[in-house]
Symmetry: C2
Subunit: 201 residues, 2 copies
DNA sequence: ACCTGAACACCGTTCAAGT
DNA sequence: ACCTGAACACCGTTCAAGT
């Protein structure tokens, strides 16, 4: 095998697994950005199942243009939440391990509930090999696992708790944030009860 | 006002709030039952957003017949889960308050995750006045509140915990049961961590 | 009282024709 | 390289005609 190791071309990636990239031509970039802005607005207002027709209209482009840039709804969602994920992964937390863990978990919960319905999509990414969020989920799990391990090393959290269980807590609390009553913050309460359950004085 | 207090007639209830009832005519009852059976199968296989066309076909009736018996998807879902809810409400639990509370919570979690997507519908019922699950949610909350209060009276659970928070735990754990990885029971773990967090020795 | 299925509406997705 | 919008498919929902 003397073939050089080339990056995957656009054509080699099936549409379902293709990540959206910002075009080079000026009109393409304008439309791409307008679509993203419209998508964020629509997802925020109607959840992740917002009408794609509506998004295209709001962005002032034809529906085919939307599909040209974002082959699937997930590709659009992923692009619309990419910055928030980067922010979460770069988050600096408190040096005290238990406080730091709590802060990070609450930020992860906020990220996963960016839009109504988003957390289910993200959770898929943890198990589905082909999901666009596989890498992102992996990175989140890794960061969470680090903070968990640090808290365990410091004797602040029970040794038996696993990274997967921490990830489960983030998902469950995010679902609560999306679905609980409007006038009461159940997700933070849930996180605190669990941290009480797994922490040591 | 001398008008007698009559029960609401069919016509007085808007379709969205109408609860399905078993018809009196023999052919109607046959179709009603066949639809329910097909619905349970379809919901179990594809979640609560299963195709209604498919359900009607599987039941061997026209789509109009389905709508005749069940004016909305929620009406069909409610009828398909009515027995399970009754079972939950009639559940006898252990006399030891904390054990009893745990058993009931796990059964409530199982009920709310009967079908993929079901828990979000149920959670709506807790806040939406018009939901078909309003009564059911209220009954669940009442039963949960009873068991919670008993555990608190016995000094086994922190006084500050509220019935709404218990209901939130049930919903969050049910979401996990619907969405977590297939080979790992994250929802029971979550319940146990929370019970650890709120219980007293 | 209940059943049927055509008709309509809505929305996601593709693709041939264009610049 | 990118845009357009008609065309198709799928599915939920209604309703006039029937038994």
């Amino acid at each position: 095998m003397t073939t050089s190791h080339t990056a995957p071309t656009l054509a080699s990636v099936p549409p379902a697994n293709r990540v959206a990239t910002r075009p080079v031509r000026a009109d393409g970039r304008r439309n791409y950005d307008a679509l993203l802005q419209a998508a964020r607005k629509a997802f925020a207002a109607r959840g992740t199942s917002a009408s794609l027709d509506e998004i295209a209209s709001a962005a002032g482009v034809a529906i085919g243009t939307l599909y040209g840039h974002f082959p699937t709804r997930d590709a659009l969602l992923e692009a619309a939440t990419r910055d928030e994920l980067a922010g979460l992964l770069a988050l600096d937390v408190d040096a005290e391990p238990l406080t730091g863990l709590r802060t990070w978990v609450l930020h992860a919960v906020a990220f996963c509930s960016t839009y109504r319905g988003f957390v289910s999509t993200v959770a898929q990414g943890a198990h589905d090999e082909a999901s666009l969020w596989r890498e992102g989920c992996h990175a989140m799990e890794t960061r969470g696992a680090e903070l968990l391990a640090a808290a365990q090393r410091a004797g602040r959290v029970r040794r038996e708790v696993t990274p997967v269980e921490l990830f489960d807590l983030v998902g469950a609390a995010a679902w609560l944030r999306e679905n609980a009553g409007p006038d009461h913050d159940g997700s933070t309460r849930l996180v605190d009860y669990v941290l009480d359950g797994i922490s040591r004085p």
